[in-house]
Amino acid sequence: MVENRPFLNFLTHLVLILGVLMVVFPVYLAFIASTHGPTDFMSGIVPLLPGDQFSANYGYLLGTGESTAGAPPFLLMLGNSLAMAIMIAVGKIAISIISAFAIVYFRFPLRVPAFWLIFMTLMLPVEVRILPTYKVVADLGMLNSYSGLVIPVIASATATFLFRQFFLTVPEEMMEAARVDGAGPMKFFRDILLPLSRTNIAALFIIMFIYGWNQYLWPMLITTEPHYYTVVMGIKRLANVLDGDNQWNLVMAGVILAGLPPVLVIIFMQRLFVKGLVETEK
């Protein structure tokens, strides 16, 4: 496809630019809205240029929160979300890399059934098992706690599967060479597999971080104390004013705040992320 035709170039660029505009425009609009006063969007004319309420809106949201709508300060919720997302991502990676290591490198009874069991849970979304899980968590007294937010979603069949596939591509001789070099299983894991999985870990971290950050249903079910609210829930709270008009400027500011961290993670880890998905270093 190394063609150089001006018309085709023009066409492809047009399509790409239109696509980007379609995706970016709503985000832009949300940002614009978050910099205006509460009534500007009710007038019927949508402003397209930033207003002068940027610091007022964000400052209010981050520091005070919208208590009438039942939303605590966003700073707290951002902190909660960050803690939850990091714990979920790190936990998922730690657990799945160890289980994949066990499945690939050890011969134990019921190894294959164990793998298929893990693999089958891929097909069960959280929503299907949400009521039994809720019951278990409630009985364990983990409602309204970080452990309740994190532990029920901490196992990942996807990540286990991906690590397994990666481990299978590592030549067996590598393990044998390590054995001859006097490295036991755990040493081999730490000195060789872990560094080799670096890019995979980074890629999975991003995916799992965003997964954790975007958790909505589960945190909503198990947290009733504002102290444990996450930011995605907070937006819902903001938009859910019982009487009176929605404060769209604040809602949009909340949306921008909630969307920012995943974007930052991707921007800063993009290099590793792309490497992890594309390159197999052997």
Partner: protein
């Protein structure tokens, strides 16, 4: 440094597949042994059993005086060079070499000294800070060797270490392995399917076929007195000619042709005759010889291989390129250079030692 004794070793994989049976092999301290055979003959399995990477189903392996059947590879005091090198891609060359020593808790100063010495020996000193990715095939091969050398093990185990290299590099690395092994005097076991590599490297060859030893011997011994038709066809290039013949008293009949043996016949009746291509020559007018129908020739420069048939059997002869060829030429055989094999078992018949087998082995001047 140690001797290695393989006593009645066999390998049966789970599922009942038998890979190796009843291998008996005593390797002296400092000896260079080459295990050679076609793919699937069990040579790698045998090596991996000695290394400890495969469990030993039957028999015993001794390194030095110690039975190592149940000993972990790391504790067997061996070092292995793998076909794909198996270098750790995320470590620098230095760390690749040092890893095994670090795991053994060798002091840092000693690691430095040993790595430096191995690197100097292999001429990879300037690459010590590089990652394997940034090295060429030959350099990676050297690093893999270095990883074995730094350990100063009792034995080196090589698993087809040269088969990923191009032909030219293979020849030079072959020389280097030999030189290194002579210099270090370390017992070595080397697995290859390349008979030329086997011939050039070995103090003693072990020819394997179907999980069994066909023959053990010095390269020239195996070359000049192959124990079976399998060894005869496997060792040497071009392969030894094997034709069906019949012994009538002192005469040998190959197809319609008949030649006198002058008392070299070990038996009578149907036999398989083996004769090396270089032991055949184009006959003079007046001698007793086999009629040869030429099919095609291959020029090797110093030699010319002529392929054709005697009766309906394929024969290849190596002749001087200066001799003119004609379609109705005849091939003469020196009866002293014939090998006789049983037609049923393929085994060499007793009382049949060609004169050339007693050549003095060339002692290396190293």
């Amino acid at each position: 440094m140690a001797s290695i004794d393989v006593e009645s070793v066999g390998k049966v994989y789970t599922g009942g597949v038998r890979a190796v049976s009843d291998i008996r092999l005593n390797i002296a301290d400092g000896e260079f042994i080459v295990l050679v055979g076609p793919s699937g003959c069990g040579k790698s399995t045998l090596l991996r059993m000695i290394a400890g990477l495969e469990t030993i189903s039957e028999g015993e392996v001794k390194i030095g005086a110690r039975v190592v059947n149940e000993v972990e590879p790391a504790d067997r005091d061996i070092a292995m060079v793998f076909q794909n090198y198996a270098l750790y891609p995320h470590m620098t060359v230095y760390n690749n070499l040092a890893y095994g020593l670090k795991n053994r808790g060798t002091p840092k100063a000693e690691i430095d000294a040993r790595v430096a010495e191995a690197a100097r020996m292999l001429e990879i000193t300037q690459y010590l800070e590089r990652k394997p990715r940034a090295l060429s095939g030959g350099q990676r091969q050297r690093v893999a060797m270095g990883r074995a050398i730094v350990r100063k093990p009792a034995a080196f185990l090589f698993d087809e270490p040269l088969s990923n290299l191009d032909a030219k590099l293979r020849v030079s690395m072959r020389g280097e392995i030999k030189r290194l092994q002579r210099r270090l005097g370390t017992t070595s076991i080397y697995v290859t399917h390349d008979q030329l590599e086997a011939m050039t490297l070995a103090d003693r060859l072990v020819v394997l076929n179907g999980g069994r030893i066909e023959q053990i011997g010095a390269p020239l011994e195996v070359y000049h007195a192959p124990a079976s038709t399998f060894v005869a066809s496997f060792i040497g290039s071009p392969a030894m000619n094997l034709v069906k013949g019949e012994l009538h008293g002192d005469k040998l009949a190959i197809g319609p042709a008949m030649i006198a043996l002058n008392g070299f016949a070990p038996t009578s009746g149907a036999v398989t005759i083996g004769v090396r291509a270089e032991d055949l020559r184009i006959a003079r007018e007046d001698e007793e010889a086999l009629p040869f129908r030429l099919e095609y020739t291959e020029e090797l420069g110093a030699q010319r291989l002529i392929h054709g048939t005697v009766g309906d059997q394929q024969i290849t002869a190596a002749v001087s390129p200066e001799i003119a060829l004609s379609p109705d030429m005849r091939i003469a055989i020196d009866a002293k250079r014939l090998h006789f094999f049983s037609i049923d078992t393929g085994k060499r018949l007793p009382g049949n030692v060609p004169a050339e087998a007693k050549l003095a082995p060339a002692e290396p001047v190293l």
